[in-house]
Symmetry: D2
Subunit: 432 residues, 4 copies
């Protein structure tokens, strides 16, 4: 064990200040231009090797990418809000990913994934809400860091800064990945496809969790792991007709969509475990007395395992196809992101918890987070395929409002402890 | 004009007596064994050439045929109820059609179609109901001549008997067809396919109609013609599973059927005229907690024209197929009879009405019957394809309860007048 | 008969010019501010008594009124496009109705209804399109006089101008009503409810019709009359829940809506005549993984008669209510306009046609327009209830593109003849 | 501990012989006339106090009772197949329950529930199937003891016979209940409502389980307990109409049923645990072209807990009601049996397992049976409400074909050991 706390103390003011800056200027999936550019600037300043933009994102593997217009508008906003122009140009066009690479000779490759994107939620503006009271509430209307990704990002920076100081005492490589688009489960896949994780031996992701007492640390395990998830849009295309004078000439896309809604919800339960389906949104038709020729719905499936989610997907696809055929419509299905289900490798999780008990920076716990889905599992599965292992680490950050709510808040004090803990653990893994 | 009334007077008692006999022993579609055998016996007795059974019915063209068991059971009943054994053997197995052929050298071929089948209705047993009061109500439980086909049949016999007497004064051929299974619109087609109508120049069908005053005569015309109709059964086949322990293993045929029911009823109205669809019956599944693996539904479509019925059929078939695919089931569709839409050829109808005005046996009228569907149109269309023409003749037979009701009754006096009228008209057509 | 043609010739250039002006500045339902103000100005200039705005429109009886924001925006546009400020103030807030009253002592009250609103269609901009070629195509994006209401309006003005000259020779009253919002069948009702038609003895509406040769004139009659129509919006309100973590807590408004769509389309056909239903538009939900808590659909029903439309409405309302209950949602149904079915009073139509044959200004015809629905029937029914009679007069105005299409055009020459015809007929009715 | 094995050895031949007799004459729910009468005869012979028929069954609490005709037919069969006439008269009319009461002064009341009914399954007739090979396969067509209730019944008899011998050494009361209609979860409730269990302190049920090695014994525990279940029939009543000529007059019960099927299957999953719904059977309508006026469906719901099943029931009932209202139909819902969810009281189960480990007659195990539903939980919940406790005991009886299959079989040797075990445990509980 090295003494990393001293450095953590020194940089803490800057780290907290940067977290509040990120919180004030939150950015949605694939538009984390300002955040990514400032992270790259900081990594550059502390001397890290940087990988950025297309270097670590495969362009074709990006799903649910915003339109060109939105990307451009948000890019301009990022400039106006003080993004770093040098690095902005490297993430332009929807490539806001950055990685720090800290390397010293041959040795194991350890990766830490943190994320950077915010949510489409309007932040609470009561003076009791800490960020608002302290003047760092979101200035971007309808966008909010309501899940702590601002804190994840600066934790990654802190870990990088400390490890750079001890680089000479380590053998091997540390990769700290600042990924975009976690909330829409579309950011991990293009990074995986870029090949940047092919040589990784161990990979970790962290998540602050406000329902837990501050400083508790735990890994997701076994059946309490993350749900597999798939998102896709279905578009039914029919044919218009005057519903009064030529009803027989129409091909009613709304009829196809209505059938799909009913039947998707009726996919049988599965005796092997929990499944979910949601058709959260449907827009259909243009005018009261014209047979509807286009209906678009947004669908999400989940499963306790990847297989169970696959079961839902297969049923959903068959139902969508047949629903189109019912009324002689055409169907387009567009994938909008997905993540496999899974949890930590037990032995790697054991190593992390053993270190936690020894280091006592954070309090080892057996708590299990109710996890939902996590884009990181996509990275984890890839690392496993390449022979490595991984873990998802949850760190208590209470008190604070519920995740994904406009009152979300967290205890900033856990950031420093987490930086100390993570840099300490990684150092131990690579120590000469 | 010949004086046919004298003969009609002479045979009237026998005709009425035979009508009451047929009424007392009504027989459902394809089981008109007794009726057909007695008609053949009578035709034979008066010296007509007879065509019977397979001679005028194509075996493979019979749809909605009762099961072998039912055919055998009804055949035994026909024997027990006094059918003619000689001719019974010729209609055995579901071939109860008879035709009289009256021919004298080369000349036009004129056909008259009458029908013989009864309906699955329990006859009224109040003493006010004429057949019951007079002791000739149906003795076959649940079966009743509630649409006058008993009277149609004896009308055909009367016409045959009269024309036989004047055979030498005619040139050409008369074919009087006693068809089965009119009510289920399945009797005309096998006769057409037998080729028996290929040489027909003019074809007529008659129908007594109790809502009209006795003796009114009219031909169906133009848009007030008979509706096209199709009947078919759809069977969805899925896969059973224990609905509690393995819901995911089932292929739910009831779900396919329920979707089909909703969507069939939602086929858009057609601006070109009236259409109908009915799913009157559905049987699905075997046990409460077993995923349903078989669902069978009975469907009927109609259209103001053959094209409109075709529109309904095409939509229905597409919906049935897609409903099967919705839940990965198999579909079997079995046609159960159909008739095209149509009405009389205007010029032939004009000839008939001109004769009516001249002969004054019946009262020429422009009344239009609300026709429903008529199996005869299948014959009419075939005759047209072969270059001939045809007409549907309605003859007022009131007063009497509504057609297809257990109180149905008719004025028997019109039978004699109709025999005189029809034999007179046919004679005029063929007179040397 | 008076000689009205001389005056018609004199004012024709102004009339055509005004028609083109109205065509260039088309205005949608309830925002006909500019049109109404200029009509009022013109009526004022020729000395007519004027009724305007709230004087002839009952505020609470307006349905499908645009939002306050739109009304204000369009009012500003009307000012900017040269509306008459004096009269604009009288139609502000959604009251763009005007009437000319020409009265001379006691006597019958004859009313003529013309309409003024345009359609949400983008006008054709090819040089072959007459209005574009002549420079008077619409300058209001997405709005077009594609049904001739511009010509109806100036016809009303022409009739008023002529009759003012002969006022002394008439006894009784002429009311010429320039109504808004005909296309959305919401303009007639508030005028009726204002009481302005209570004393009307005879009421006429005119409609130019481009598929007919110019100058043909005919009244709608009997079964070829206008369809009854109803429009309404249905809003299902449920309850959101996280579709992944708490699916059981949601009340799924989209499920209610999907059921409603299927069942509304499955309302049985009616043997008494044609019916229609259309759910042309559905918007539901906000987010993929949130149980939908609000779904709004736009519905239209039609019937060959008011009773048949009522049949559709009753079925639709029951289905909407039960669909809400299916998923424990709340339902709001908002009427968006309706018109009864109907046609001209036969004797009044006979009078008009008799005059036409005598006057020979237009060519009397028995043609029947395929009418669709007509807001005017609402006025006609009211006049009948008060003891009066009415007629819908169609006047051939071909050649020209189809009504309600971006290529719609009409033969302007028929306007003058129609003015001569209508003023002549009204004069004859009231002549001392 | 008493030595019960000696008696068990003595009576074993008779017990096995009786089990095979019951197996040969299996009887369905509520028609266990022969079985009950022979059990009563045997209990009488060994000197037990007997409670029978209406004494322990509340007549009005019986659900899913067969029709009077079936009850009478089966009663006659029971006589013909050698039922005991004296006791048959006491179970006539659908009351085939028997109980042995063994009492000696004041003291605890211990109850043992065994069941007697068979399943509607045709028994395998291959010589490899043990009951067939040995000549005791079912002689009642389509009925089979395919779940071991024959063995349960004789186990209860064996326990009674042994405990009668040691009656003097016990203080308190033993009640051994032979219940009918377990398979349709309708037999426990009428016994509960009779009050016969009101004074019970401890209650047990046993179930042989062929997938386990013979002699393993275990109690159901915690979350692996029995599923709550409800069965009910829904009948939609509409109005017939001729689907061709008066489609508007019908009230289509099949449309209501089809909507119910789709929506019942779409009840949202529940995040609190497993739920199930099955509409296994639907019969609707009488004739192809008549609007369906009656549709009957058989429904079953399950839930991992009573609350989850209640969630399904509430949703199902609301959906059924609204589905009826959709098409203006009437709804009747008829309960067809239900059982709460639950498992053993942990401390009572601990006592049983402690005894098992001590007695070593059976092998204590922690295996958990995949339980399905169990009518007994209805008794258990009642006993708990009265202050008592209970347990469900599973005893391995392999090898043998799957439960509820035509190949089901069991190892008869476990019967003797089970009798020894159960009588020993009960004796220990009541020992002076």
């Amino acid at each position: 064990m090295i003494n990393t706390r001293g450095i953590a103390d020194e940089i803490n003011d800057e780290i907290i200040s940067l977290r509040r800056d990120f919180h004030k200027y939150p950015e949605l999936a694939f538009t984390e231009f300002r955040t990514a550019s400032l992270i790259a600037r900081k990594l550059n300043d502390i001397g890290c090797e940087i990988k950025i933009g297309r270097e670590i994102m495969d362009a074709k593997s990006r799903m649910a990418l915003p339109s060109k217009e939105i990307l451009e508008k948000e890019f301009k906003r990022a400039i106006a809000q003080g993004g770093d122009t040098e690095f902005l140009n490297k993430v332009k066009g929807g490539f806001p990913a950055v990685a720090a690479v800290i390397s010293n000779g041959k040795g194991p490759v350890i990766a830490l994934r943190v994320d950077m994107d915010a949510l489409p939620i309007q932040e609470n503006s009561s003076s009791r809400h800490f960020p608002f009271g302290k003047g760092f509430a979101s200035v971007n209307t309808g966008v909010m860091h309501a899940c702590g990704h601002d804190a994840h990002a600066v934790t990654g920076l802190g870990v990088a800064e400390i490890l750079m100081k001890f680089k000479d005492k380590m053998r091997g490589t540390v990769k700290i990945i600042f990924q975009p688009a976690e909330e829409i489960i579309c950011g991990a896949y293009p990074i995986v496809k870029s090949g940047f994780l092919d040589d990784v031996d161990r990979i970790m992701a962290i998540h602050y969790y406000s329902p837990w007492d501050p400083g508790l640390v735990s890994c997701t395990r076994g059946q309490n792991g993350h749900l597999a998830i798939s998102r896709f849009d279905a578009r039914f295309k029919g044919r218009q007709s005057h519903a009064g004078s030529k009803p027989e000439d129409g091909k009613n896309a709304l009829m196809s969509a209505a059938n799909a809604v009913l039947n998707l919800n009726a996919i049988p339960r599965n005796s092997n475990g929990a499944t979910r389906i949601s058709v959260g949104k449907l827009n259909a038709g243009t005018s009261r007395n014209v047979t509807c020729d286009e209906a678009v719905m947004e669908i999400e499936t989940r499963g306790a395992t990847t297989e169970l989610n696959e079961y839902m997907n297969e049923n959903a696809l068959r139902i969508l196809k047949a629903s189109a055929e019912l009324w002689d419509c055409k169907l387009e299905v567009k994938p909008m992101g997905s993540a496999p289900g899974g949890s930590s490798d037990d032995d790697f999780a054991d190593e992390i918890m053993t270190y936690a008990k020894k280091a006592k920076t954070l309090t080892a716990s057996e708590n299990q987070r109710n996890c939902g889905s996590e884009d990181f599992i996509c990275m984890l599965e890839h690392v496993r395929k390449c022979g490595g292992k991984g873990a998802v680490i949850s760190i208590g950050s209470g008190p604070g409002g519920p995740h994904h709510s406009s009152e979300f808040d967290m205890n900033e004090a856990v950031i420093k402890d987490s930086i100390v803990f993570l840099s300490g653990f990684i150092f131990e893994c690579l120590q000469k």
